[in-house]
């Protein structure tokens, strides 16, 4: 399996400012790697270093220490060529939190084309990529619509289409669902899942919604600039006490099962689907009766 991201012992501190504020250490000794095609959720309290990590992975910030490989190329090597850095930047894209802050054109299809135009692609090629990207996110019929009139979920799907059209191998979603209503959140999560499963795009999804993290292959939990846990959703959410301590949460299904377990029932904690959770509860109640 090819590794798209390989980070070892990354550290980063925001420098001291003129007013004498001390430098702020945002990441310390962070090591992990992401395989091509993986869907990784990143959880962490405010200020835990999630967004700083995302900026390092997009090469917007340079780490103070440690090594970072993108697509097998060492970005932290002093002799890394500009071409290699540009090539790496083209592989990793980002979708932000506020749907209103990332659309640049007035018409949907022009917005999706913007990145490709900057890559200097011929116009027929751009046309093809824009059409297929809009189809992937289910926004084809809005191609000629005004972007600012769309709903929050639709705007985020347009931003995703822009990243797909640029053929990003890896997309980092920095709390891209935080400001959406339940339907918008569902739309965007379905799009992200489809992108990952059907198009093979590597996904890093930063979120405060525990239920969204259960949809990933793997969950990385950050706390105070370090990686606290790294495992499957089952492994991570089976440790509710530690998550609560890190200012995080568990899905409600897990919390309910945890309360049953505390009361002496023999139940699993790693069940996130309401129906399966209900079956587990019914089974445990029945068992206790006998």
């Amino acid at each position: 399996m090819n590794k798209i991201i390989e980070a070892s012992h990354l550290s980063y501190a925001y420098p001291a400012d003129e007013e004498g504020m001390a430098p702020h250490v945002a990441l310390r000794d962070v090591s992990f790697s992401v395989n091509e095609g993986e869907f990784v959720a990143i959880l962490g309290h405010n200020g835990s270093g999630k967004s700083t990590l995302a900026k390092l992975l997009c090469l917007v910030l340079e780490p103070d220490g440690g090594q970072l490989y993108i697509g097998g190329k060492n970005m932290t090597d002093e002799n890394v060529s500009d071409e290699d850095v540009y090539a790496a930047r083209r592989q990793v894209g980002m979708v932000f939190q506020n749907p209103d802050n990332q659309l640049v054109a007035t018409i949907v299809e022009e917005d999706v084309a913007f990145g490709c135009e900057n890559l200097g692609l011929p116009s027929e090629k751009i046309r093809k990529r824009v059409d297929s990207a809009l189809a992937t996110v289910g926004m084809t019929k809005y191609a000629r619509h005004e972007a600012h009139r769309l709903s929050g979920g639709q705007k985020q799907r347009v931003a995703i289409a822009g990243a797909i059209a640029m053929r990003r191998k890896c997309i980092i979603f920095d709390e891209s669902t935080a400001m959406l209503d339940p339907a918008g959140r569902k739309e965007v999560m379905e799009t992200i899942t489809k992108l990952n499963r059907e198009e093979g795009v590597t996904v890093l999804h930063i979120t405060h919604y525990m239920n969204e993290a259960t949809m990933a292959d793997r969950v990385i939990v950050m706390s105070d600039g370090c990686i606290l846990m790294d495992g499957t959703p089952s492994e991570v959410f089976s440790r509710p006490e530690e998550l609560w301590k890190a200012n995080l949460d568990v899905p409600q299904t897990t919390e309910l099962l945890w309360r049953m377990k505390k009361a002496g029932y023999d139940v699993r904690l790693d069940i996130f689907d309401p129906r399966l959770c209900a079956e587990e509860i019914a089974r445990a109640l029945d068992e206790k009766k006998d």
Partner: protein
């Protein structure tokens, strides 16, 4: 103490242009005294427009807004007084912070109301404590604060005016679960201590279920469901049909009934669900 009564209110954006859009369509609703009312609805349902009606930031095209029985638009020149009585904390706290220090920022509203300097100082300290702002932060620039701290500063600036009604648009969006719980708990404590009316707008069904006494559901410019969290969240199909959701634990309760275990459909928090399971007491 104050109650807000909205009657037959209609509001249209861009009237007479090709983009004319009816944001509020003949809305009649009451925000009761001494409780937390949650306002939920899909994007574009009219929630934010309605919120801006409550303190007179927008003027209705037709219909009335009554604050304590008095139509707020009877004397349009006095509308700024309504804004002292109905405090609005906006979704993006950075949009309403502007002064050099947090202390001066919080003091701005009380100063405008004509409070005396010693009263202002007291109001600032009290409001900061209510919002959970540590004293040393008061001397900092509001722009050096973290997202969560900015939210507290904006909240304190509104509480310092001692509003009769407190309106909060997404007070916890973007905060981690721990900070979310803390700020919502503070708002709840503030409501319980003051006995005032608090209105919260949010997209999180779980938070609304946990912290509100009453929930108003908006869809397409008008309220469609009103009631206690138990009443509202037991109507899952209707909520789905207007782009909303129910808490996950409510879905578990519904699925449990299909498994032959009936703990009721009026379940809306994990604690509540647990309390209906034999032997699972509150921890």
């Amino acid at each position: 103490m104050a109650e807000i009564v909205i009657k037959d209110l209609t509001y249209v954006y861009g009237k007479g242009t090709p983009y004319e859009m009816k944001a509020l369509d003949n809305v009649t609703v009451t925000f009761k005294d001494n409780m937390i009312t949650g306002l939920i609805g899909h994007t574009g349902s009219g929630k934010s427009t309605l919120v801006q009606m409550l303190n007179g930031l927008l003027r209705p095209d037709s219909g009335e807004v009554f604050l304590d029985g008095k139509n707020i638009w009877d004397e349009p020149k006095e509308i700024s007084k309504v804004r002292f009585k109905v405090g609005l904390v906006m979704q993006y706290p950075e949009y309403q912070l502007f002064d050099e220090t947090v202390r001066r920022d919080i003091a701005f509203g009380p100063g405008n109301m004509g409070m005396k300097p010693d009263e202002i100082e007291k109001a600032v300290e009290e409001a900061a404590r209510f919002a959970g702002l540590k004293p040393h932060l008061l001397e900092k620039s509001p722009f050096d604060l973290s997202g969560g701290q900015k939210r507290r500063a904006a909240l304190a600036g509104v509480i310092a005016m001692h509003p009769e009604v407190l309106v909060l648009d997404e007070p916890a969006a973007g905060l981690d679960p721990g900070a979310r719980r803390e700020i919502l708990q503070r708002i709840r404590d503030y409501q319980r201590e003051s006995g005032k009316s608090v209105i919260i707008v949010s997209h999180s069904m779980e938070d609304m279920a946990m912290y509100c006494d009453r929930v108003v559901v908006m869809a397409n410019g008008a309220p469609v469901i009103e009631g206690t969290p138990a009443e509202v969240f037991s109507r899952a199909e209707e909520l789905y049909s207007v782009g909303l959701d129910v808490p996950e634990v409510t879905k578990v309760a519904r699925a449990l009934r299909d498994c032959g275990v009936d703990i009721g459909l009026d379940i809306y928090t994990v604690k509540f669900a647990a309390s209906r399971l034999p032997g699972v007491i509150e921890q």
